[in-house]
Symmetry: C2
């Protein structure tokens, strides 16, 4: 089942995708919903963020072995695999939907890169859940692009503008509730050319372990998002580039990159 | 003027404090409000978080000279003052209101400490605002306790449970819209005994500079909170301790600490 949040004829709503058609619902997938008689062609709506303002925005930093090795190499340090699922954070101001432009700030360097990530969306409140039960609290999955300005990432004390500048967190296009994590492959294309491909579930620490571990200390809430990190590395992106992140069987998140001074 | 969010006779609302009385409003201080005829005695209501779920939760890490020196000493490194106002993040799951208990996790070490902080609450959307205009976008101020488990802070890769365990972020009791930042003094008491006192506005980088800098890259939204950091250091807190953070002229945030296994 696929949930989509969209705007059509001036109204933003949740709907369920069936082929090329959206069946509008009253309510939402978290607090409850009723089906309505309203339908829209999928191609005719404006796709919105699958969750407008997540209560908590969790994001895993280092979660794929090759990425850890390449990141260490760039920094000239020894690669060290994370021993524990210590989670980090991003900020909602940076979220944009599928199809919207990523605005590269005018003073950014040329080191602007994508990170294609699986995103788990929490469906039910959970606290202190066992790893074996953790996935029951996931409503479904979507795709995230953890856009990063690598010069700022090295220079600043925190990741604030390197990772959280406005528009740096595309997320979407929809929520798929029935994916088989082990079958997914993440493929990233820049202007139609494939630049990155990896097995989505080749994570150092998986979704279930992260949720279980976080929930020992932090209550997870409906609508919370958990971005699972990325593998490999991106080329530097420039004005006009279109980045498509496909997770096979889940969908494709596509956004154009636009340099602010040229927007 | 003081805004309070509270529950009385089963209903949660915003109100304006006038002496010992709350005048209930319809709406809120961000999107707009109308006064109502309903009144409550301030002492009779349950105080709630001044903002239930901030869209973005900014928190300054190192912003007072003495705190930077003491933190460096504890880590055995040289003290280095932050050159730029690089902001960090906390997570909404940890927020609790004035009067609620901070629950110390059962497996926490004895290194649980308070940090008394001024909190600026954004009232209006702002982007790319000059430092001279930045405070116009602040609705008002409240108080935060950035509770920290120092062992986890050193051991984990991120601050997730060290700073964001459930109940680790008391905030309140209300929003004061007319404070003079230069006149404020932060005083912390544990079980009635003063343990910390510093001039609230003796910050390395002030509220206006932080807002101006953040807003160059990140849009600030109504209800966003900006925690401004703390000075000096806290003693280790134990089961039963009551921590009161007073900012003179603004109010007092009071919370009891309870060890989970003994809750």
């Amino acid at each position: 089942m696929r949930w989509i949040r969209y705007t059509a004829t001036g109204k933003t709503a949740y709907g369920i995708i069936d082929g090329d058609v959206i069946a509008e619902v009253k309510g939402d997938p978290f607090a409850g919903y009723e089906k309505t008689a309203t339908q829209h062609a999928l191609a005719s709506v404006q796709i919105e963020l699958p969750v407008a303002t997540p209560p908590n925005f969790f994001c895993v930093g280092l979660n794929y072995a090759q990425h850890v090795r390449l990141a260490a190499k760039k920094l000239g340090i020894e690669a060290k695999m994370p021993e524990n699922p210590d989670v980090g954070y991003r900020s909602n101001n940076a979220l944009i939907a599928h199809g919207r432009d990523v605005i590269i700030p005018a003073d950014a360097t040329e080191k602007v890169q994508y990170e294609g990530e699986l995103v788990a969306i929490i469906g039910k409140t959970c606290r202190n859940v066992a790893e074996a039960d953790a996935l029951k609290y996931v409503l479904g999955y979507t795709i995230g692009n953890d856009v990063s300005e690598r010069t700022w990432q090295k220079a600043d004390r925190t990741l604030w503008r390197a990772k959280n500048s406005d528009t740096f967190k595309p997320m979407g296009p929809w929520i798929d509730t029935s994916v088989d994590l082990d079958k997914l492959e993440t493929r990233v294309r820049v202007n139609g050319q494939e630049t990155t491909r990896f097995k989505t579930n080749d994570m150092i620490h998986g979704v279930a372990l992260y949720i279980s571990t976080i929930s020992r200390y932090c209550t997870l809430h409906p609508g919370d998002v958990l971005w699972m990190g990325t593998d490999l590395f991106s080329p530097d992106l420039k004005h006009g580039d279109v980045v498509e992140i496909e997770i096979t069987g889940l969908g494709t998140l596509s956004n154009r990159f636009v340099k602010a001074s040229q927007a």
